[in-house]
């Protein structure tokens, strides 16, 4: 589904990613963990096409197609979705209006007609129920005055509506209380199937209690230094990151 080969990237001449290799197959859940400043969020931004970062080497392929020349919206049309760590506010634009615009832009890019209104409404109803969202929520301005939990839930709601091939969840657990965490994780699990894949980026292990990863990667200083199964996350939770650092230096 998504393969990243020898990815190097920098911002303002500072190299942040130093040769990332990652292979995610359809139906898999991968987690990337690592200490602050390891380059986790940089990686997710680069996959989504954020032009703040300069990719100096390597490639990102989605189902074999190189994404590097594509604009962020083109990547989105092909099925890349990023759940932001800090979703932005857009005053005056309702959640419904925003998602409707997004869906129809994607359909337009893929040569499809606009989604009929009744179909859209039905889908909005289904997905908002899945995430246990209040209907009033849908007419509020996007992220304006939302609590941390509401923002993240809204991100997953959009993911549910857009049905991406690869969903990257960047620190989706931050700012969530335990109930919201359960709802969000539950939503992600229900949306997962053998035709899509999920990449969870997180600092803490707790989200991985709910979204069980097939692989856990440790990102440190711009490189993946260790890969393991779900139990690696538990080990990290218990022992922190220092032992890996020592293992590296040894």
């Amino acid at each position: 589904m998504l393969s990243i080969k020898n990815l190097h990237a920098s911002v303002e001449d500072k190299e942040i990613l130093r040769g990332i290799n990652l292979e995610i197959k359809a139906g898999e859940v991968h987690a990337i963990m690592g200490p602050n400043g390891a380059g986790k969020s940089t990686l997710s931004s680069i996959i989504a096409g954020n032009e703040t970062y300069e990719v100096s080497e390597g490639e990102i392929l989605l189902e074999g197609e190189d994404l590097s020349e594509l604009a962020p919206e083109e990547r989105a049309h092909k099925g890349v979705f990023l759940s932001f760590q800090y979703p932005v506010e857009i005053p005056g634009v309702s959640v419904t209006n925003f998602i409707k615009t997004a869906i129809n832009e994607k359909r337009k890019a893929n040569g499809q007609a606009e989604m009929p209104a009744n179909e859209m409404l039905k889908m909005i109803r289904e997905k908002s129920e899945l995430l246990e969202m209040d209907r009033k929520f849908l007419s509020r301005s996007l992220n304006e005055g939302f609590s941390g939990g509401e923002k993240k839930r809204n991100e997953i709601f959009q993911m549910a509506m857009l049905e991406p091939k690869i969903a990257i969840l960047d620190e989706t657990d931050s700012g969530l209380d335990i109930d919201a965490l359960r709802i969000v994780a539950n939503g992600v699990n229900k949306l997962k199937n053998e035709n899509n894949a999920v990449l969870v980026i997180t600092h803490y292990q707790r989200l991985l209690d709910y979204i069980i990863p097939d692989f856990v990667h440790v990102l440190m200083d711009g490189k993946i230094v260790k890969t393991g199964g779900a139990d690696l996350a538990l080990e990290l939770e218990e022992k922190g990151y220092d032992w890996i650092k020592q293992e590296q230096e040894a």
């Binding site: 962020p72 919206e73 989105a76 506010e89 857009i90 005056g92 615009t101 994607k106």
Partner: protein, 482 residues
């Protein structure tokens, strides 16, 4: 030396016309450039006006002569030479095309984006419309419906002839001839405009826009509008058009007077999309407008404006809240792009008791433009319990534009409650990236953000127009993000 043919002469005249931005029909008599009492008299005579009207114009002219152009607005432009302008030219003869294929494709593209019907496109771009019989019959139906209710809706010239008592009684009562430089000029030389009278207790059954759009393709240079809503009546009036007006008259100085008698309500909406000049700031219309409404007891006037055109805009639709319990509202969206300059806002003059006013102003600046809000809230000593709420929001796009807010508050009554809120924000790269990530391209993202920002005002427009205005905002800001 080459032969100088009649064709050459024609070409020369045409070019000259373009230079001054006036249409001059070689066949008809056009007044020489410049303004003096004789010209004013001649205009009045040309229009077959009664003596009182001629005198009224002359009074205005004499006042104008003593006045100087105002300089206090936050706009910079080369002052027009008022003696270089011809103040009367034969009614504009529009270019006739045989089919839409002959019309400027760029203009058609804009029409398409605005969702204007083919028939209307033809009408607006001056294609021979003999095939479009529909609109003619529609207009006739409207006229009939209005007449049945006793509503008078006609040109101001016609009103001067047919309803002199109404015009004489009200003209200049809200915007006096000597009100300001441009109003005085307009009073002296106004070419035409609209007149509307709604009788007591009548609710005008339609937006007067629909009628207007079908009947008036072009706009005059010195328009004069007078709307009178008699006791307990209601009218919603829409002027302008979202379709781009490639008007070549550089100077526009219109005057609009609204009179809402006891318990009457006037809703006046404007969409202004005159030529803003090119991307380098060359050309474009100077739009110096005086608009004011008078509210008697428990009357209400709402101004809603979407200003996207003109190179320079100087415009302050205002309300005089004379009667007790009267209400004034001003909802505005002003968009400036490239080198456009807008200095716009409102004046709410509270004279009566328990008067209320609301001001919502949304300024959007892009390119190298300057956008200023200027407003005055004045509470007189007698205006007990007056209330005002003002909100001025500015949205900036890029680093080369400016947004300015000049709110003035003068209160002479301690029972007044005045609230003012102001915000300035910038469209952030993070907002655009967020939209991009969801599959929304940058231009569309900007449109979405701008429409969200303007929503409170867009909601005040008549429904069908709100949709067009929304598209207009998108078009006005096209290419404003790199």
């Amino acid at each position: 030396m080459s032969k100088y043919t009649e064709d050459d002469l024609k070409v020369e005249l045409e070019n000259k016309e373009y230079e001054y931005g006036f249409y001059t029909d070689i066949e008809s008599d056009t007044f020489p450039a410049g303004l003096n009492e004789d010209i004013v008299r001649a205009i009045s005579k040309k229009k077959n006006e009664p003596e009182w009207m001629t005198e009224w114009r002359l009074e205005a002219f004499r006042a104008w002569e003593e006045m100087t152009e105002p300089h206090w607005a936050n706009v910079h432009y080369e002052k027009p030479d008022f003696q270089a302008i011809s103040y009367y030219s034969a009614p504009k003869k529009k270019d006739k095309y045989e089919s839409l294929d002959e019309v400027d494709p760029e203009l058609l593209e804009t029409f398409k984006k605005l969702g204007i019907s083919i028939d209307e496109q033809k009408k607006l771009s001056g294609v021979a419309v003999d095939i479009v019989m529909d609109s003619v019959s529609v207009a006739t139906t409207f006229k009939k419906t209005l007449a049945e209710k006793g509503i008078i809706f006609c040109s101001i010239s016609e009103a001067i002839q047919e309803h002199p008592e109404l015009v004489k009684k009200h003209l200049g009562t809200v915007v006096p001839q000597r009100d300001n430089f441009y109003a005085a000029l307009n009073s002296a030389v106004f070419s035409d405009g609209s007149f509307c009278y709604i009788p007591k207790g009548v609710r005008c059954p339609m937006e007067l826009s629909t009628y207007f759009r079908i009947n008036q393709g072009g706009t005059g240079q010195f328009e004069r509008t007078l709307v009178i809503a008699d006791e307990g009546s209601y009218v919603s009036y829409l002027e302008g058009c979202t379709a781009p007006s490639r008007d070549e008259n550089q100077l526009h100085a219109a005057v609009v007077e609204l009179i809402a008698l006891d318990n009457a309500e006037i809703k006046y909406s404007t969409v202004q999309n005159w030529y803003p000049g090119n991307k380098e700031g060359k050309g474009g219309v100077f739009n110096f407008v005086t608009k004011r409404g008078l509210c008697e007891k428990s009357a209400k006037i709402s101004w809603t404006q979407v200003e996207t055109g003109s190179a320079v805009t100087w415009k302050y639709p205002s309300c005089i809240l004379k009667g007790d319990n009267s209400i004034g509202e001003f909802y505005s969206i002003a968009v400036t792009n490239n080198y456009q300059q807008a200095d716009t806002g409102t004046k709410m003059i509270h004279l009566g008791k328990n008067t209320k006013s609301t001001i919502i102003s949304k300024g959007i600046s892009a390119g190298k433009s300057q956008n200023s809000y200027r407003g005055l809230v004045q509470i007189s000593a007698r205006a007990d319990n007056a209330r005002n709420f003002s909100q001025c929001d500015s949205l900036l796009m890029g680093n080369n534009c400016g947004a300015h807010t000049f709110p003035y508050i003068e209160s002479k009554n301690t029972s007044a409650k005045i609230e003012h809120e102001a915000t300035t924000s910038k469209i952030g790269e993070d907002q655009v990236f967020y939209c991009n990530q969801r599959g929304i391209p940058t231009e569309k993202a900007i449109a979405l953000i701008v429409n969200g920002f303007s929503r409170e005002v867009l909601n005040k427009l008549p429904m069908e127009f709100a949709v067009e205005a929304q598209k207009l905002l998108e078009i006005s800001l096209e290419g404003s993000v790199g």
